[in-house]
Structure formats: C-alpha cells, structure tokens
Symmetry: C2
Subunit: 597 residues, 2 copies
C-alpha cells in the first residue's frame, strides 16, 4: 500500500474515492463494534471508521492500536453522518471507512501525551524531542520557520542578492563574545574558531565584487547562557556594495514586511519609525524600547534644579538626573510601591520616590521636602492627574535609565498594559560610535570596529587623536555618531547593522582610538585590512537574529520553541547527550589534554 | 551619485540616457586626449570614454586611474562608432561617455592580474581570495553555486519538503570518519562533536512526523586531506517517510535534471541507468564507473581454467581471477606497456600481461605459455582485432578490480578516450549490506549501520546470527543486499542513500552482527534507538555532495574552485591564517592544555 494523500488534505473531491493514508494514531476509541481512529500526519487529522460487522479483519487490527502507533489505512471517503461533523477540524465533514489496516510500527507507552499539549518539563521535552515535535504547536513552529526561510530567500534573490557560504572552521572574529574553539589535528597547538558571525567574510565578499550577499547561517558564541540565548543561533546575514544606510533599511523593511504579510497576514506600515538613540534613551531608558504601552520616562531635573531636597540635590549637583514615570490611572498600594522600590534597589537604585494623586490629595513620602512650585512643576511636566501614581528615580543617567526601563517593563506586564495585538517596530539610529569603558580605561565600539562614523564627524576623531587632555578626547569622541541602525520589535532587538569603513586609513584611525596596536590589528583582522587596500567598495549590511524574530512573530517566550534541536540553558542536548566524554585516542590525535582539577 | 544600473546590463534601452555606474577599473588606456576605461561590476563590463577636450575635469580624474581602482561614473550611453564595436562583449555595441568620475577607493599594485586569468599559485590565490574571486571564471563559479541553491530548494519545496536546521554542536555521528571536537567550557572534560552529517537528526525528524525533510548543510570531517577533499563540505540532505527507494530515486533524478536543465541547458534522459554493484564491479572494477569510454573489464578466468601457465594457474586455483581490457585500436609501444606494468605494480599487482595484435601476428611475452585454444578463446572473448592491445591482470578479485579500474582511467585520460561532451549518469544499486573486514576481524557496514537490508534477506541475517561456523556466517551475510543507492556522474560519486531501518529489533540485529555491544550502541546511537521505539515510520533518504556535483557540472578539477573560502590540502586558510594559536586564558577556560612534544 502506498500513500495517496495526506490525512489533513481529505476534502470534498475525495468523496466516494479510495484513499491510502499513512500516519500516527492520534486517538483511538472503541464504541463496541465500531472503532474510531483519529489518524494524523504532518498536514492534519482525519477520522477513520472501522466497523466490525463490515470489515472484521481490519477491525481486529484496529482493535490492537494504541496511541502513536504508525499505520497505513486503505479506505473510502464519505460524509460524516449528520450531527457528527466536527467543524473545528479541517477534515471534520468527512471520514474514511477503513477496510485495510497495516501496522507499520508500534510505540512504547508515552512519557507525555502527544494529542494534548499538557505542560511537560523542558528536559523531558528535549530528551523526547521526536515526540515533542509531533505536538501541533511545535510542528507549526517548525513549518513556520521553514516558510520563513523561503520568503527571506525569495525576497533577497529577487533583489539580486547572491547566496554565498562562509567557512565554519575559521579564525576568531571580533564580536566581543567568547569563541568556540576546535583543536587542529594537523597543526599541533593551533585551533580553529567557530564563527560568531560571518562579518569579516561578508566584507571580503564585497571587496571581491559580489555586490549583494546574503546567507541564512548558523553562528556560534560561547557566552554565558542568559535567559534566552543559545550557543548556536541562526542569522540572516546581508551585505551590499555601493549603498548607504537608506538602501539597507529599505531591503530590511521589505524583508520583514514580507514575513509579516505572508506568515501572519499583517500589513506593516512603512516606512518603519526611526528614532535616535538619544531620544529612545531619554524616553524609554533603553535602546530597545517596547512602545506598545506608554509609561514614558520624563526628565524632571530641570524642574528640580533649585531643590533643597538633598536626595535629589546631591544627585543633580554631581551630574546625575531625576527621571520619573507616570503610572497613568494606576493607584498602587503601599505594598506594591514597596515591592517596586525593592526591585529598583536590586537593579542598582538607591531608592524610588513616589507620589500618588488620590482623592484630590497628594500622598507621598517626599513632597514635604519639595516646594509647592517644584511639586507643581514636576506634576505638570509628567501630566499627572487624579488617580495616577508617579515614581521617581535619582541617580547617574545610566543607572536611572537602567532602573526605570526595567521597572517600566515589569509594571506593564504586571498590570496588563501591553496591547498584545499591537506590533511595535522601529529603527534606532544615530548610535554613538564609541563609548568610554571606565573599567578598561579605553574606548570600545558600540557596534563593532568596522562601523563607519558619520562623514561630518571624522574631523572630530582626528582632533581626538591629537588631543592631549583625556577629558577633551572623551568629549570629542563621545559626540561622534555611527552610521548604524538596529531594528527593534516589541522591545527586542531583532537586527542590527551599519555602513562599514572602506577606507583603510579611517579603519586604522579607529583601531588607534580603540587602543588596538598595529600588530594586534594585523593579527586579528589582517585579512580585512589587506582587503581594504585592494579596491574595497563602499558597503553596508545588516544581520537579523532569526530565532528571536520568529519567536516574537509566533508570540513565544522562548527561542527554543522555534529551534528543532536546541540546547538547554546549560548548553546540553538532552536528546543526544552532547557534550560528552571522548576517547583518550581522540584527544591524543588532537594534541590536547583535559585539565579538570 | 548613486548607481542606476549595472555595467554589464547597459543595452539598447539606455541609448541617449544618463547612467551612473559603479565598479572596478578592469583596464584603462590613454589614447592621447581620450581615455578608455573598461568598467567592471558583478554583471559585466562596459567601456567608458572620457575626452579631454570635452570633459577636462573628468579626464584629469580618469588619468589617475589604475587597475582595480573603485570608481563611480556618470555619463551618457551612445552607440560605439562603426568599426569599434566588440561583438565578444555583451555591451560591446555601446559605450558610456563619462563626464563625472569619482574615485571611491584606490588599489595597491596587484599580486596577480584580475583582468587576465594567468595561472597563479593556489596559496596566493587563497591569500588574496578577494582578488581571485573578481576573476571572471571564479565569479561565475560563485554565481553558478548561488543559482544551484535556489533550484534545489525550489524543486524540493514544491514537492512538499520542509527545511529544518540541525545542530552544529552535537555528538559524534557514526560516519566512520574522524570527528572535529569542540571543548565545552561549562562541562569540563566534555566535548561537542561537529556533525559529519545530520544522518541521525534527519531520521529523528522522520520519527517526529516531519514527513519530508531537506537541508543544504555544512558537514565536517577531520579526514586526512586526500587529493580533493575539504574538512568542511556542503551536503544536500534529504529524508522522506512512508516511501521506498523508488521515491527517493525519483526526487533525486528530478533534482539533478533540474540542475542540468537550468544551469547547463542540458536535458538528461530519464530514468537514469541503474546497474547493480555486482555488474559495475565486474565490468569496471569500481563502484563508481566512468562510462564515457569503453575499455570494459573482461573476465577470462573461464577461458583459462585449464591453463598450465603457472602465473595464471596459481591465481585461479586459489580463488583469484584473470581479467583484462582490450585497448581497442591502441597499438602501445614496449615502453608504454612497461610504464603501464609499473603503474599496475604500484597499485598492488604482481605484474601485467599483454598481447598485441600487430600486422596479423600476436606479439606477447605470454602467449608462448598458453595453448592456441586458450589464446583464441581469450582473444575472442575480448573481441580482439588487428591493431588492438590486450592487457591482463591475474590476482584476487579485489586486487584485479582495483588495478584495472585505475589503469582504465589512466589510459582513457592519457590517450584522450574520454568524450568530454558526454554526461554519464547512473545509479549503482544492490550493494552488499555488510562486508567482512579482514583486519578488524568483523563485519563493517558498506554504507552505514542504519541501512535496511532487502526484506527477503532478513532471514539470512537471522540465520547468520545463529551460525556457529564463521565461514558460514560470512557466506550468509555477504549475500545480503542493502536497500542502498549511489548516484555516479562521470565516474564520481555525487550522492548516496538508502532505505533506513525503522524496526528497533532489526536495528539491534545489525548492531549484533557488527559486534557493537548493546552498551556501545546505547552510548553512540541511544537517541536513535529510543526514537525507533516510539512510532518510527518507514523512511529513506539520500545526501548529495554539492561541492563535487557543482565542480563536475562546471568541468572543474578541484572542488576548491566552487567554494568561496576553501582550505588548502593542509587544512589551512591562507586568507585568515586559520588555524592559529590562541591565548592561554582561552585554553584555561576550556579546561584543556596543548600537548605538543
């Protein structure tokens, strides 16, 4: 018997026809003399009916069936008897009268049910991933991902992009994270690094004249696995020649719009919003704001600049800020406010001030320290009205932004302020090029060292290199903007890119500012520097985190649910047991010895 | 200035129009007052003309240009003056009168020319891959490869295949080759293995109900780099459920036919030939025959079974064979025959006998030892005629096949017998399932341990497991055929696959025959065995070596020419310098120490 159709595709055109179906027993019920089998394959479910009186042989086989047995059924399609239709099921108007059943394989008792999506520990789900992936929602995640690949490639190929594979065994790329290393057998003591991204290769491809490149590619970073990271993840990688940021933003918006349109049926409004880094930091305290709800940060430093309230005054005098949020229409209890304060302290704040506008009065532990003018100015700036609660945080700008942006998210989740039907998509632009790293005592790249500064800012960099006073240097460099852009959806960064440096002299200048010696630059990025000297075109690009993007689009909390075979938070694959011990012979051949004291 | 068109696309519709072109200076010639620039981009070349008298400013810029400078040119398209057209060039009827030129980047003196494809050492080509890839033929290889990806995916997606990514950090898969290992930082002393192929994962996906899977995926094997191997290579990986070998062969033929049709304009005759392993070994001495030329192997053991010629007799008496080739129409000199004999000896033969039919006479060192009847029977069997040369080899069947199949190829190349216009495509089928490994003293899989035997041969395997006498066991097992198939094009294996075992009991039987203990099987393939117990459907698949397939289609000797960034034969990337030393800190974090005495 050979399959003639998928179960999920049985329809009007099959009525009265013989079909052969193959799949898994989703459910089986014996109603005394009649057995109903919900037969499932990738495309869906269909009901198979086997009657003892009509097909005793098939009935006897059907009677042995258990959940998740693999069977092949021959039968005839008919309409379900009136009143027994199942309108929730795509094939729910029909059933297959089965008269020949072959059991292709059995199934041991299940560690968790496939037919119902009861919660199961992630460890168990991953160990039995072959069962987990049979569940409807996971199967849909995998098919969704499959469709996304095709849409992405079609969009880019139509625009003249060329798909090129870059190597997996390579040299460390300077993405800042830790490399996975691969010992070389042929070159004792030497190591390959797995790619953190194809950044340098794609730039080399531009120098090679490929003009427009893309790749959907695995990247690997040996980072500490925070909340929702994976050691290997998939990037949609794009690079273009003879273009500026506008071109990259155009193609990116087209790509994301096509995905939303074709996968979710949603027309995104284009062009996407663009907001400067300075503005998002001011209004949301983060460079990846979620604007599906309000709770914007308001700077009231100006309103309080003369205050005698020492908590604020000391902060303002030392260059800090006072910023707050108006929890519009939320009247928080004392206990809720205490919890928020505790959370703020965990995030690094010294405390959290608050003011409630309740029954025409102000309730607050701090208003007594403020003048009426200060209080009124503050409340007016924050648009405070009866029933609102105001929270205020005073500290360095960095700490205030960090604390309030976190509280903002938490409050929004806790009080259901997020409109889950909404899609908030924006570009964050005008990032600083470099920032001063207090700990390391040097500048570091905000994106990566190949990001171009704005043309008009280059003289500032030259001046900074000549500056004697470190303060002047920091001031000059801090004002230099990068030609970089990040795409943020619902408060998560899903892509980022930049116009690259194509002038070897400018690249050297950046390395100088980053305190990277010529020798170090040669060692680490020598091949890019060499490429830039041999006719590098102006170029720019972007990379999207596909796992993250798909998880957001599917409304999933974890990227692990859009990856067929993910690792746990500890970097373990419960399905295969990787990583694992290897034989002494393997280690000898690789010229390494484990050190595990 | 922003590009309006690719250089290579200038055509009739642009006449009289202003265009902006961006690209590289392919060639530049100053004809006193008129400068001709061949401007090149990914899509081709166009001639730009700059006249001093008309555009002195642009002329002065053009006068500074050198090879591979990057420029942007604004100008107007016109017909080339009569007599100056270049019909070899796609844009050869037109030229662009340039009146504004911007130099976007310069280029240092080239290590080798880009405009002419002079031979360059591979080391230098790879070090300056960004220049090497600008050369026309290499650029075409990369674009050819790009197009192949799209054709492959379109073909498979249309047939309902689902693209799924499988992990890179995983556990050793049992493909027989050496694994690349990745030390785990979070799990001291443990290692991930990079995938030699997604074999087990794709089988797990079938158990998960994905039904039809494909992926174009990098695979990594730490093999000794023979002639034309790469440590990382690309596989077109396919797996299907509820199918047999016929379905896999169908989709494979469609895939290959689409590639030939769309990339080379060649209609392949379908179905492709299928020849059994036994027959190709008999006729060509190899399981990947090149049938673009004759020189078939002929077994003359039967004709010589009574011979008194000791060289042959001793071989035949000990189970060996005498096989030969008729070098049709080739009258080899004594010296050429000596060279062939030497080559045969290098390949493991004790010698090579020969007979020439020259001027109505037999010239041979061996005919004097044969009876006239034997000689005549032999010559008749081999279809020998005036002008032919016969070579004969006597030894064990394995040695004879190895020697003659190698000589066959060498003779064909040396004497130009290969019809380079021809495509020889065939399936080799009916492979043995297992073969006895004399060295290891056990059976080994001819394909891999998950390959299904023919249904009718399963009783033989059961009998073999029960057999007491090792000879009986070997005889029984050797007669078992696998449900495997290899695709061979022009004498190179480009793909191979099989119907897989989906019955855990049968899988265990195979492990037993392979002398793999239950514990070892559990450790190595535990997750597959587990998967088989939970409702595994019948499934089958195939994998194609994409690099090899593309190299053959492009008529290239080396797969390195279809890979953007390949490694040398020593596993080195001259572009990046990988592999390289890493810092002691990195090694400490990975809990390993190099051992390099």
């Amino acid at each position: 018997m050979k399959r003639t159709k998928y179960c999920g595709e049985i329809g009007e055109e099959d009525l009265g026809r013989e079909v052969v179906l193959c799949g898994w027993v989703h459910r089986v019920r014996n109603h005394g003399g009649v057995i109903f089998i919900d037969l499932r394959d990738r495309e869906g479910l269909v009901q198979v009916v086997v009657e003892e009186s009509v097909n005793p042989e098939a009935y006897n086989v059907a009677d042995q069936l258990r959940s998740e047995y693999v069977v092949c059924v021959k039968g005839v399609v008919r309409k379900r008897p009136p009143g027994t239709e199942n309108p929730k099921l795509k094939t729910g108007m029909y059933e297959v009268v089965g008269y020949e059943i072959e059991v292709l394989n059995t199934c041991e008792p299940l560690p968790f049910p496939v037919e119902e999506e009861t919660p199961v520990s992630e460890e168990l789900r991953l160990k039995y991933r072959f069962l987990d992936l049979r569940r409807e929602s996971m199967k849909e995640n995998i098919l969704f991902r499959h469709r996304s690949y095709q849409i992405i490639r079609r969009t880019l190929v139509e625009k003249g992009f060329v798909e090129v594979e870059t190597p997996f065994l390579t040299k460390s790329t300077p993405e800042g994270a830790r490399d996975f290393l691969v010992p070389s057998r042929l070159h004792p003591g030497k190591f390959y690094a797995l790619p953190q991204s194809p950044q340098l290769f794609k730039q080399v491809l531009m120098v090679a004249g490929i003009d427009k490149y893309f790749q959907i590619v695995k990247c690997l970073r040996d980072e500490d696995l925070r909340a929702d990271r994976q050691p290997e993840f998939t990037q949609v990688d794009i690079e273009m020649s003879f273009v500026d940021e506008e071109d990259v933003i155009q193609i990116s918006e087209e790509l994301v719009s096509n995905l939303f349109k074709e996968l979710l049926g949603i027309d995104l409004k284009r062009p996407f919003d663009r907001i400067s880094y300075a503005e998002v930091m001011e209004r949301y305290g983060t460079d990846k704001p979620d604007r599906r709800f309000g709770l914007e940060l308001v700077d009231v430093s100006q309103e309080l600049k003369e205050t005698h309230f020492m908590v604020f005054r000391s902060v303002l005098e030392t260059g800090g800020v006072v910023k707050g949020m108006n929890l519009k229409g939320l009247s928080l209890s004392r206990r809720e406010l205490d919890d928020l304060t505790k959370k703020a302290q965990e995030l690094g704040a010294r405390g959290l001030a608050w003011i409630k506008l309740e029954k025409g009065k102000l309730v607050s532990p701090i208003t007594k320290f403020l003048t009426e003018g200060e209080t009124n100015a503050l409340l007016e700036k924050m648009g405070a009205e009866e029933g609102d609660t105001i929270v205020l945080c005073a500290d360095s700008r960095d700490v205030v932004n960090k604390v309030l942006s976190s509280l903002r998210l938490q409050i929004a989740k806790q009080y259901g302020l997020i409109d889950e039907e909404k899609w908030d998509i924006l570009w964050v632009v005008d990032f600083p090029l470099l920032e001063w790293d207090q700990e390391e005592g040097r500048f570091v790249s905000v994106h990566h060292p190949f990001t171009a500064p704005r043309q008009e800012d280059i003289p500032k960099l030259e001046e900074a290199l000549r500056a004697e006073d470190p303060k002047d240097k920091i001031k000059l460099v801090s004002s230099v903007k990068a030609r970089a852009y990040d795409l943020v959806i619902n408060g998560e960064e899903v892509g980022g890119g930049s116009v690259r440096i194509h002038d070897p002299k400018l690249q050297k200048m950046i390395f100088d500012l980053l305190n990277i010696s010529q020798q170090e630059a040669e060692e680490k990025f020598g091949f890019l520097l060499r490429a830039l000297r041999y006719g590098a075109p102006p170029h720019a690009g972007i990379a999207f985190g596909l796992d993250r993007l798909l998880a957001i689009m599917r409304g999933l909390d974890s990227i692990r649910d859009v990856i067929a075979f993910p690792k746990t938070q500890k970097g373990v694959c419960p399905l295969t047991g990787a990583p694992d011990y290897v034989s002494p012979k393997q280690l000898r051949e690789l010229h390494i010895r484990p050190v595990t004291e």
